[in-house]
């Protein structure tokens, strides 16, 4: 496929090519063609062809051909470096493959230079892609509408991969009067995305949660108990394709007292199903736990220490968890395994609270990496 391209060729063109070993620069080899061609893998590359000379010096030709990105049509390439890429020469054609795919909506100037610095130019415009505003905020966790004063983080889930580097300008927190809360988030240059770019983690500034740290003492905590707030996500945020979100998103919530206690697995309600069924094992927590960590840091092992495979669900409000096994439960002893870094909404881990008050330690820290709770799957009652 030859690309549809804006093409113009300046009049007097001199091409510096050494034909043979010691021949002087030839000026009779025009016209040459510069085309934009799709490779077998779909990537576009530039082809220079139509040399009149029988023998073309490959090294000189490589030095003579450059492609520039056009930002400004009047001063294309001026003061800008050429595009990085690789050259292959064969059968009278020089092929230049850009290191990265050409960008929709941009223009490129392909040039064949002479020894005097003059050049023949062909310009190519890559058609702009029509962008559809289809991406939405699919969910925000915690999903409950009452959050502790020392809440540590939000997870924002999107329906498609998002652009990186736009998080903090498009996420804001409003108080009950609609006034913007200043600097509530830990703004990291390295935005905390999942590997697919569909989930962003936003931490509340820990300097405004931790007791005895300057920001908390001077500016105070982000949230105040009893107040209401709204997390607002702007539709100016672009997805990875460059399209704005289909709509803005708001999550309103009320703030309860700070939670400084570690979750206690012994206090969870555990409902074990009967054997020979695929009914789920169910857990009900005393308070909501971290949505992401519930998917990763809880599992069930049988008496042999083998993990029970199945479908994990985190129940509404992150107050419950269930495991539906792939195969029917067999009667016997099992253990619910909990990785000690499982956290609640305030970052209190099973192993230790978010903050340990060394003067008033409530209980000893858990030193092992996992804690477990035994349960029995009983034979089915006939």
């Amino acid at each position: 496929m030859k690309s549809a391209a804006v093409r113009f060729v300046p009049g007097a063109v001199v091409l510096a090519l050494l034909c043979g070993c010691v021949q002087p620069v030839r000026e009779d080899i025009c016209p040459v063609r510069i085309d934009l061609v799709a490779s077998e893998d779909g990537a576009l590359h530039f082809e220079v062809s139509g040399f009149a000379a029988a023998r073309v010096d490959e090294a000189s030709l490589r030095e003579s051909f450059r492609v520039y990105t056009i930002f400004d049509k009047r001063s294309a390439g001026e003061g800008l470096p050429a595009i990085a890429g690789s050259y292959v020469f064969g059968e009278g054609v020089l092929r230049f493959r850009p290191r990265f795919p050409l960008e929709a909506g941009l223009g490129y100037s392909a040039r064949l230079y002479s020894s005097s610095g003059r050049f023949e130019e062909t310009r190519f415009d890559i058609p702009r892609k029509e962008l559809e505003r289809g991406t939405i905020v699919a969910a925000v966790y915690p999903s409950v509408d009452v959050l502790p004063e020392n809440l540590l983080k939000f997870y924002i889930h999107f329906s498609a991969p998002m652009s990186v580097g736009m998080a903090y300008e498009n996420t804001r927190l409003l108080d009950s009067n609609g006034k913007v809360v200043k600097y509530p988030f830990l703004e990291l240059d390295e935005e905390l995305w999942d590997p697919r770019g569909r989930r962003l983690t936003i931490f509340i500034d820990p300097g405004r949660i931790k007791q005895g740290v300057l920001p908390n003492e001077v500016v105070g905590p982000v949230f105040k108990e009893g107040e209401s707030y709204t997390l607002e996500i702007s539709d100016h945020w672009k997805d990875a394709a460059g399209a704005r979100l289909r709509s803005s998103f708001r999550k309103s919530f009320r703030v309860s007292e700070a939670d400084r206690q570690s979750p206690l697995p012994a206090a969870w309600k555990l409902s074990a199903p009967e054997a020979e069924s695929r009914e789920p094992l169910k857990l009900a927590f005393a308070a909501p736990l971290d949505h992401a960590l519930l998917h990763r840091l809880l599992w069930v092992e049988n008496a042999a220490g083998e993990r029970v495979a199945g479908e994990v669900r985190v129940e509404a409000g992150e107050r419950g968890w269930s495991l539906r096994p792939d195969t029917s439960w067999r009667p016997g002893e099992y253990r619910l395994m909990i990785f000690s870094t499982l956290e609640d909404l305030a970052g209190n881990g099973i192993d230790k609270p978010f903050e340990v008050d060394v003067f008033e330690q409530v209980r000893e820290r858990v030193e092992s990496k996992t804690v477990s709770r035994a349960f029995t799957i009983r034979p089915r009652q006939r």
Binding site: F71, E187, E190, G212, P215, A309, G349
Partner: protein
């Protein structure tokens, strides 16, 4: 990011030589041409012999690249380049708003700047390393260079799969907030996108050596009373009272010192708070240098400009344990350097100059070499 080579104590040197006879040899010797492909490019830092360390958070890997740039082949030129973002975008064939510059490091042997760059908008955007020698910009061809890679230790993933047909890809990633080469080890500070972790990894280099990687948890104490995990935002190494230390800035703002000798398996380190860098401010980069026989540290901040601190003051600091009235702190004194405004990246270029990336009023970025204050 900065070169973080410590002046080696005589004792440390003799120990390392006796334990590792290869230490004095070319550190690139064990590297192989690997056609390295970066999944992402985060913080970068130089070690000896022109070795560039690149954090690849998406690939959960640290790469060591033998750049071959040992300063012997070309004359040293001070880096100066206007609109570096436009120029990088042009070289990568895209628009300036489609690139992200993650970090910058100067090769101390050649004075060449190396920038880690993402080309595209999304998380999976291809990564590249761009070099600037004087005012000449080039893309580093990783396919022809020797390299070695180290997989960052596995995460507490609780046996990630959850059964037939429903395998759930782990959504956990570990952002790397800083890395540096100190005394034969690569130190990596990071932060998880799930649990509030505060691990600092110390990886022996060369990677294939016999030393074992160590991961420690970093803590913060306040008022001698509250203890919390404290992720590190950026760090630098220096000698305090003749002992090698890390000076680290926590995400929750305190600037702390941590003895390097404390980085041992299973350790939980509590930094000594020597300053608090202020509210609504993020420390971005730190460098250490000597001027007129005195050692200083420069701290680039997001909203409080460039702070200059005497390392003698760090040494003398008893540590902040109590708040003074009015919400201030008795931290080490610092001077704010006037004229160094809008600085986003900072590294030491040589003994007397620093390379900075500065945001202009027009919103583009310039690389400038400035005399150290």
């Amino acid at each position: 990011m900065k070169l973080k080579l410590l002046a080696c104590l005589a004792l440390t040197c003799s120990l390392s030589i006796s334990l590792n006879p290869a230490a004095a040899a070319d550190l690139t010797a064990g590297m192989k041409p690997a056609k390295l492909e970066l999944k992402s490019a985060g913080p970068v830092a130089f070690g000896p012999d022109g070795i560039l360390f690149v954090a690849d958070p998406l690939g959960a890997t640290v790469h060591a690249i033998a750049t071959g740039d040992t300063g012997k082949s070309a004359k040293r030129k001070a880096v100066s380049l206007e609109a570096v973002d436009r120029k990088i975008a042009a070289a990568l064939g895209t628009a300036p708003d489609k690139i992200r510059i993650s970090d910058l490091a100067v090769n101390p042997l050649s004075g060449v700047a190396y920038l880690s760059v993402a080309r595209g908008s999304g998380v999976a955007a291809p990564a590249a390393i761009v070099t600037v020698r004087g005012d000449q910009l080039e893309l580093l061809d990783l396919s022809i260079l020797k390299s070695a890679s180290f997989a960052l230790s596995s995460v507490p993933d609780a046996k990630a799969s959850t059964g037939r047909g429903r395998r759930r890809e782990s959504a956990r990633t570990q952002a790397v907030t800083d890395l540096g080469y100190v005394n034969g080890r690569v130190l990596v500070a990071g932060m998880s996108n799930e649990e509030f972790s505060s691990s600092l990894r110390s990886i022996p280099f060369p990677f294939a050596g016999s030393g074992k990687p160590v991961s420690v948890e970093i803590y913060h104490g306040a008022h001698g009373r509250f203890e919390t995990r404290s992720p590190v935002r950026t760090f630098v190494s220096l000698n305090v009272a003749g002992q090698p230390y890390l000076v680290a800035a926590y995400q929750c703002t305190p600037l702390v010192t941590i003895p390097l000798s404390d980085i041992k398996p299973g350790a939980q380190l509590k930094g000594k708070t020597v300053a608090e860098l202020g509210n609504r401010n993020r420390p971005l980069d730190m460098i250490v240098y000597t001027k007129a026989g005195k050692e200083y540290m420069l701290i680039a901040n997001s909203s409080r400009g460039i702070m200059k601190v005497s390392t003698v003051d760090l040494e003398k600091s008893p540590g902040i344990t109590e708040r003074v009235s009015g919400g201030g702190s008795k931290g080490v004194p610092y001077e704010t350097i006037k004229g160094w405004k809008g600085i986003l990246q900072l590294d030491k270029a040589d003994d007397t100059t620093a390379l900075v990336m500065r945001e202009t009023e027009g919103g583009s970025f310039n690389l400038e070499t400035l005399p150290l204050p």
